[in-house]
């Protein structure tokens, strides 16, 4: 029974996509540069052809309920604790009632606009957080320094079940002693006065300004949580049903896995929200486009990019777009991860350990056509391993590896990959048959077509590329194989979400298990160290360090960026102002509506 359900599921998804694609009124225009009259879209990243914000005319109504749709094909988990959750949907939901202490600005660096103000003394390895006076929890209790400390204590607790008690977190002085039960308090956290907390670190890097190095960006309501043992938190009502929060809205009612009703938080420190309520509901991806079209939702989150065609010309909505914190890539296996010593080891004799070969593989593929034909322009060719949202670190002058089959052929020819037997396929340097094995992930039915297109591209320059296992590989199996350095994989296509800390050390470092290419060199290590060094506390120095690293990676071509992605957000015309810019986007408490019900 299990097998059948699974293959049926795959079939279902394929059919759903096909169906969704034809249910949108048969629009066949390929013009993705749609511009609305009432929007401005020129500012910011050039990758986004969609506007970042809308301003709809009309007088705002008093209060009102915003209908928020969240596209998901499975029920959300419902762990509403920043310390404990690990599902992105839970984080979206918590966003309305966030316990976040810091605001971020350019490059997602912490600013002084939030509840907490961060001051860093790099030489003393200390940071000081000062919180605003008069900030209250959603139940009216004042926010105290003890609430900040309690969040650290949850994560450092011996029974803490989550992922955040990690190497970074142990960078705070005294955390390990507390975890092991040798100390009753965390020595590195010192309450200076009622609004000031001093934190001591073992070492500091520029990552602290992105909320790294162990700095924890959220408060936990100690008055609600302290009576619950940390081991029981996950099952408690304080996490599942009635979390106490700091954000613009507060949890009012939850239907597990399906929907959440938020009411405005009258204690919100920035001022009373203009909306009365927000109702968030999950919507299956198969009907997301229909739902927004029929006026069921005002805003839809995680909208599937494959359904863009079905919503782009609708009268009652605007489609906003912003770059995602992610990049897709093509990477090559150059070695192995040594589990004993926890280091990556590059194999000098690896099949793909030839810079010219790797570059040629990159020059051979026509990424730009794929972005246009398959992704309706919602993806653009990536030129760097840093997404463009990190404006100060991203190097737009990098050319990257563009589509140039002639150059690919020349490179291969010069490197000694010649077609000896005249069948149109190149042999290796010794004249033996040469096959490159590509591992690629399965997902939508377009994935198959895209991979086939790339295989054709490679064949045109004379490289025989075969799929590892003969077909596309399911997500979990794919990473299992990639992680284990399966000898059947010579290269693989995948993607990374970067998070808000752009430091590449965790993905390309010598000791990083996620350095799937297994590339190690002294030069690379130095470049990475420089990015996170004390000198890089200076933003200009860090930007330079990032640039040097990007150039090195582009030259080595061990991981070739393929796409940057655009996230799309359909918004109903009833929403007065909405801006999804990462830096100066609309604050939740400012959202207003101009009609009693969404425009149909």
């Amino acid at each position: 029974m299990k097998k059948r359900s699974l293959s049926l599921l795959a079939l279902l998804f394929a059919a759903l996509l096909a169906l969704a694609a034809c249910s949108g009124g048969g629009t066949d225009t390929k013009d993705t540069d749609k511009k609305d009259d009432d929007t401005s879209s020129k500012d910011k990243e050039e990758t986004a052809t969609l506007p970042l914000k809308i301003e709809n005319e009309g007088e705002a109504i008093k209060g009102g309920t915003l209908q928020y749709g969240m596209v998901s094909d499975s029920p959300f988990q419902g762990v509403f604790s920043w310390e404990l959750y690990d599902d992105a949907y839970d984080s979206t939901i918590m966003g309305f009632a966030t316990n976040s202490l810091f605001d971020t600005g350019e490059d997602f660096l912490i600013t002084d606009e939030g509840i907490g103000k961060l001051e860093v003394d790099a030489d003393a390895n200390k940071a000081t957080i000062t919180i605003r006076e008069g900030v209250k929890w959603s139940d009216g209790e004042p926010l105290k320094i003890e609430d900040l400390i309690y969040a650290y204590q949850i994560i450092a607790d011996k029974d803490y079940p989550g992922v955040r008690y990690d190497g970074d977190f142990r960078n705070i002085v005294g955390v390990e002693e507390y975890h092991d039960g040798k100390a009753d308090t965390i020595a590195g956290l010192k309450k200076v006065d009622d609004t000031t907390l001093e934190i001591s670190f073992k070492k500091l890097s520029p990552a602290i300004f992105s909320g790294g190095d162990g700095l924890w960006g959220y408060a936990a309501p100690k008055h609600q949580l302290e009576s619950i043992p940390v081991a029981d938190l996950l099952a408690s009502d304080a996490v599942r049903k009635n979390p106490v929060t700091l954000g613009a809205f507060k949890f009012e009612k939850i239907v597990p896995g399906e929907s959440v009703q938020f009411a405005k938080n009258e204690h919100y420190w920035r001022g009373e929200p203009k909306l009365d309520k927000i109702v968030l509901q999950t919507v299956p991806s198969s009907s997301a486009a229909t739902a927004i079209k029929s006026g069921k939702f005002d805003i839809v989150d995680s909208f599937p990019a494959t359904q863009y065609d079905n919503v782009k010309d609708l009268e009652n909505i605007d489609v906003l777009g912003r770059p995602e914190l992610a990049y897709s890539y093509l990477s090559f296996k150059l070695g192995k991860y040594d589990k004993e010593n926890k280091v990556n080891v590059t194999d000098e004799n690896a099949k793909m350990n030839d810079k010219a070969l790797r570059q040629a593989m990159g020059y051979a593929i026509d990424v730009e056509s794929v972005t246009k034909e398959f992704y309706q322009g919602l993806r653009t060719r990536g030129n760097s391993l840093i997404p463009p949202v990190f404006a100060s670190f991203y190097d737009d002058s990098l050319e990257g590896i563009t589509f140039d089959p002639e150059k690919a052929k020349t490179l291969l020819e010069e490197a000694g990959y010649k077609d000896v037997d005249g069948d149109g396929i190149r042999e290796d340097k010794e004249g033996k048959p040469f096959v490159v094995n590509l591992a690629a992930m399965s997902g939508s039915d377009t994935d198959e077509a895209i991979v086939e297109y790339y295989r054709q591209n490679w064949k045109e320059v004379g490289i025989d590329v075969q799929l590892t296992t003969g077909r596309l590989i399911e997500f979990q199996s794919f990473y299992e194989k990639v992680k284990a350095d399966d000898p059947e994989i010579d290269m693989f296509m995948a993607a990374w979400g970067t998070g808000t800390n752009p430091s590449p050390a965790g993905l390309y470092g010598k000791e990083a298990e996620f350095n799937f290419a297994r590339i190690v060199s002294d030069e690379l290590t130095n470049l990475l160290t420089d990015i996170d060094s004390k000198e890089s506390m200076d933003a200009t120095h860090r930007a330079k360090a990032f640039r040097a690293w990007q150039e090195y990676m582009a030259e080595q071509a061990t991981t070739i960026p393929t796409y940057f992605r655009t996230e799309i957000v359909p918004v109903n015309k009833r929403v007065k102002n909405y801006n999804i810019d990462y830096i100066d986007g609309t604050q939740l408490h400012e959202i207003e509506l101009v009609a009693d019900a969404p425009v149909k």
């Binding site: 359900s5 190497g167 929907s259 979990q476």
Partner: protein, 320 residues
Amino acid sequence: MWKTVVRRILVMIPQLFVLSLIIFFLAQKMPGDPFSGLITPETDPSRIEELREQAGLNDPLPMQYVNWIKDVAQGDFGKSYTYKRSVSSLIGERAYNTFLLSLFSVILVYALAIPLGVIAGRYKDTFVDKTVVLYSFISYAIPTFVLSLIFLYVFGYQLSWFPTSGTVDVGIEEGTLSYYWNRIHHMLLPAITYAVLGTTGIIQYLRSEVIDAQTQDYVKTARSKGVPMRKVYTRHIFRNSLLPIAAFLGFTITGLLGGSIFIETIFGYPGMGQLFVNSVLTRDYSVITTLVMLFGFLTLLGSLLSDIIMSIVDPRIRID
């Protein structure tokens, strides 16, 4: 007969034990584990390794099995890795949703299929019969997800007669009359979809049984004794024709907990079918194994129930 029933129940124990062995080892054989999906640059691989160690996933497989079966014997099915709560409460919640929806669907199926099947059989080869047969062929041929999407689009979004997803609206006070009506309202459209698709087998069985019965001796006898045709149908033919359907009743009852992945996914209705497929995709071992054990148990129970029901409704059949 009761001796047989007790014996059959006792035989289930070794059967379930073998099933538990198979499913436990097969589940572990799948590539990846519950933690391998947690890869982002912000998660620390060594912390994930710690969690794996704490969860006992690094122990030798036979040892893991023994630990698991010990807990299961005490009624503890462990904790879902994905949902981070006890498997029994998670499955309980979903089973409740699925049970309500399935029960509702099955009632609709019988309410629709029995009259149609009898009428089609009684008026064989007439226009009515042909319409019913055509309907049952079409409903047999349409894939579940196609009809679900069409119904959702037409009745949910275009006509707005029904809610489009979920089990209940969030704003309604629990326990009130409008709360229960709201739940039923949410179930109507998926249940109707299921019913429209689920009738084929019953219609066809009933129709051919009714047609066969018309030429049986007992019908001739009844007619020759002057029993009116209407009464022959309601008293004699109808009851006999229901036998093959009664044979499946046990499976139908236990199948109420199976759930349908298609309907649940399209109507955003959190139920067992979806839980099962998602737990496989996320390698949520504790949920996978518990669900398979549950489904296995229900199948065995269903076949036993069917046999018991048959022996009750058809005195010619005896279990001994």
